[in-house]
Symmetry: C2
Subunit: 317 residues, 2 copies
């Protein structure tokens, strides 16, 4: 498998490809979170991407490399938005298969960007099967949300930026869904800043990375469910597992309470509007500094598509 793992060269090529489409997002010190956690905290604000989430990096890199004029994706939210947005820019026809209980705001955004939206089941397996069937029937390219070297190389551009934006980083904490973002970021950082440690953070109910690192293989976790709705695939991909097993220094799991507290701390303390998945890297630090992480810590705030209902609840309580 190792010959298909994307490396620094592929990430640098992706960076050229996505320039002008994805943003070089701010990496800013957060005095409020430094005070709260006892670390010197910097935030990598992927919630300031054009579509408010990092997934534009991987989706645009992947789709710009396709010869097909149609693409199809399975997604409950941010990946679908990224594929719809990128397809529009690249003048490709786009279909997104969403779950029957998808968040209305996220579906509306996909439709706004011109995607055809199809509903199928409630679980990611059903969505992916339906999407692959559409791909076979129409000749469209299926764009996987994370288990794809071009998608991972695209997400890696976030790590490339971090490496060039700040020196002397001890640790980077990255939220983990299917593992695409942490695979890309860790590949870039291990190549450029090998002393910087990379940790994943995931919901306690969806410990895909934690269990995989322990078992030394892909592990499927039963019934993942979390307010961090971007972090609940039931397993890493073969490719993201392979990369994480080489690059990632460890992982943390976070309770639902701590993920909500993290989201609240970011909104009310640092005045950054992130979604729970994006705020998850703060969760392990809420009980005070973790000495082994060192002093200077970068938290990757992966996205900001919080539902207006949850945001209202946080602002009024």
């Amino acid at each position: 498998m190792s010959e298909v793992l994307p490396g620094l060269k592929e990430i640098e090529a992706a960076a050229e490809r996505i320039a002008g489409v994805a943003s070089r997002t701010p990496l800013v010190e957060s005095p409020a979170l430094s005070k709260l956690t006892g670390h010197e905290v910097y935030l990598k604000l992927e919630c300031f991407q054009p579509i408010r989430v990092f997934k534009i990096r991987g989706a645009y890199n992947k789709i710009s490399l396709l010869s097909q004029s149609r693409v199809v994706a399975a997604s409950s939210g941010n990946h679908g938005i990224a594929v719809a947005y990128s397809s529009r820019l690249l003048s490709k026809k786009c279909t997104v298969v969403v779950p029957e209980n998808a968040v209305v705001e996220k579906v509306d955004t996909m439709v706004d960007y011109g995607a055809e939206v199809v509903k199928a089941g409630r679980y990611s397996g059903e969505r992916e099967a339906a999407a692959r069937k559409i791909a076979e029937g129409t000749g469209a390219a299926f764009v996987h949300p994370y288990n794809d070297p071009d998608v991972i190389a695209g997400q890696g551009t976030c790590g490339l930026e971090i490496a060039h934006q700040l020196d002397d980083i001890d640790t980077v904490l990255v939220p983990v869904g299917g593992g695409g973002l942490i695979s890309g970021i860790s590949t870039a950082l291990k190549a450029i800043r090998p002393k910087t440690r990379v940790y994943g953070v995931e919901p306690r109910s969806a410990p895909k990375l934690t269990e995989a690192l322990k078992a030394k293989k892909v592990v499927t976790v039963p019934s993942p469910a979390s307010i961090a709705d971007g972090l609940i695939p039931s397993a890493l991909g073969e490719l993201t597992y392979e990369i994480c097993s080489r690059n990632v220094d460890g992982s943390f799991t976070a309770s639902e309470d701590d993920i909500l507290r993290a989201t609240r701390a970011l909104i009310r303390g640092a005045r950054i509007f992130a979604e729970p998945s994006g705020a998850t890297p703060i969760a392990p630090l809420l009980s005070g500094p973790i000495e082994s992480l060192g002093r200077r810590v970068v938290l990757v705030i992966s996205g900001g598509n919080i539902s207006q209902e949850l945001l209202a609840k946080i602002l009024t309580s």
Copy 2:
């Protein structure tokens, strides 16, 4: 006066100076606002700057050119945050004079970034007098929020980006406070894209630009007050008036109701969290398309430091 007006050369120099500190913010199509207004709407998202407002561009450009090790500013909000943030990055001591009724969240942010905050009066005249007195007493440099060629050149980098990010722009709509942003943007655009029209938008109670264009001189308006609290200086500066009189194609005034409706449309429709001052350019388009503006319109969403109280109100009503 004309020999001190900043031109394209000064703006390009500012762009190099602020690279890596201010962001090249996204310029994105907004299908939701296109539907609402009948124009082809693009948003220049200055609310995605590290400090959530464009003022980092001018403040950092200005302060990086100063020989003094201390700076002082008078501000009720965003300018003070920008000066505090830039001073911290440039290792300068910073004092901000704020009004006695300043918004707590904005003052907290200045303090977070290490500024000393002094309260003085309720009107901008009192603040500026107090700040200039501190400057004289301490040898600090006074950083004006808009009537300064280096500040204007910094704000102009926003126009430089717009010119390079999108073709065939008919009109750019810019919110107007003291006129620094529209002066910078219009200077860049008239140099690079002379066919693109630039209009200002300001609160009906603070028609500084509208009255000045009519009278062909700086006009002081009585008792400006608006929910768009970044747009209520009582007059343009001599320098910003001079530039606007040459470059700006016209202006609109917006009612308080329309500014609030614009803020709501941006949050609930396009899911962009802007402050009322930042959403103001939408206001003139709420009653349907304005033919003279042409088809493709860029709205400069200048900032996102909305109070949590107002945001909660919008999300729950």
